[in-house]
Symmetry: D2
Subunit: 115 residues, 4 copies
């Protein structure tokens, strides 16, 4: 399955249930936040070591996998509804980030890496 | 570009900057929440009509596209770090959701659609 | 009960359970995001009218009240841990916002109201 | 200033700017998530030690204080709009949590502490 196949499948899933009218950009963005909240529950209290250990178990990985799937599904659905190609958008952003954070200048530095 | 290519490119991007040690599941999940927060700014106050109008302009779409890219990048990076295949995970979740929400029973209903 | 009483009660609650070491600013900020995610579930799909109707029922209000309490508890605990007085901080912010958004200039406008 | 004074001040602030129609529960809950996202930026990459050091500086504390104020302002405004008394709701929740997590049984344990 490709990303496009997934978007098409989610489009069909919504159409079959007459859910398209609920799938506004606002509602889908809120849904994305709800699912990221559920994902955060898995890293809420543990140290990096404890989380790595949990992810290393089949149950831990399955639980995390399901949360990641939920986030992914809403993200792909939202991008499809607003007509954004996620892979293209990510490529453009990575190119911009490469200019912004030259490897030679930022190596190993934690200062404002994400903006 | 495929999803796998993107994951590989992000892996390289982090390695070149010695950022791997910052890319723990906990930090990446937090980053995902930060970016979803920025995405939510675009739907914070507008009605569905106003948001649709904004998304319909080149500037509005470009702005949203950039936020979606940020969310996507952290999601793909996080999934790669914990060893989850996003497309497989989404497929499994859609199959489970199809059982949980039979089209004939939930059509058009807004009650607990997402869980 | 005042806000200070609540902060003191939460301090005692954590101390009695030996949970202080889990209550780092990072973990508490993540917990705040988890609880806001649960709050968002209540406004995820409904229109403003449907949400107002739900909040108007005893069950709807009780459910929302519990989510608001969870957000509030983590916010007060986090502020206490980092030594911030929430009421003072809010007063300072409102004064700054009053300068930034003069009533005569922004009345009824939805453009960038929050920043 | 008390919590009630703050709620009244925010009510007046919105009324003077004709912003009440934007302050629906849905929009305010989204705003809360936006502000929590900005708060999370401050704990996104640092270790607990690095974050504690940052919070210990006047600039670090001031920055965090402003984010906490934003979260608090939207939370108090949302609670006011839906008619929930935050201190009462928090008291009720703490009593329920005390039953759920008896100090003798959960001391020092990180398993599902928050639910």
């Amino acid at each position: 399955m490709t990303l496009e196949d997934l978007a098409a499948e989610l489009r069909r899933f919504a159409a079959e249930r007459d859910w398209e009218r609920f799938h506004t950009p606002k509602n889908l963005a809120v849904s994305l936040a709800v699912e990221v909240g559920e994902l955060l529950e898995h890293v809420q209290w543990g140290s990096d070591e404890e989380i790595a250990a949990a992810v290393g178990t089949p149950e831990g990985r399955a639980a995390l996998s399901e949360e990641l799937a939920d986030v992914f599904i809403y993200l792909v659905r939202l991008a499809d509804v607003v007509g954004v190609d996620l892979l293209d958008a990510a490529s453009a952003k990575i190119a911009a980030n490469a200019d912004r954070y030259p490897a030679d200048e930022v190596r190993g530095s934690a200062v404002k890496r994400s903006h």
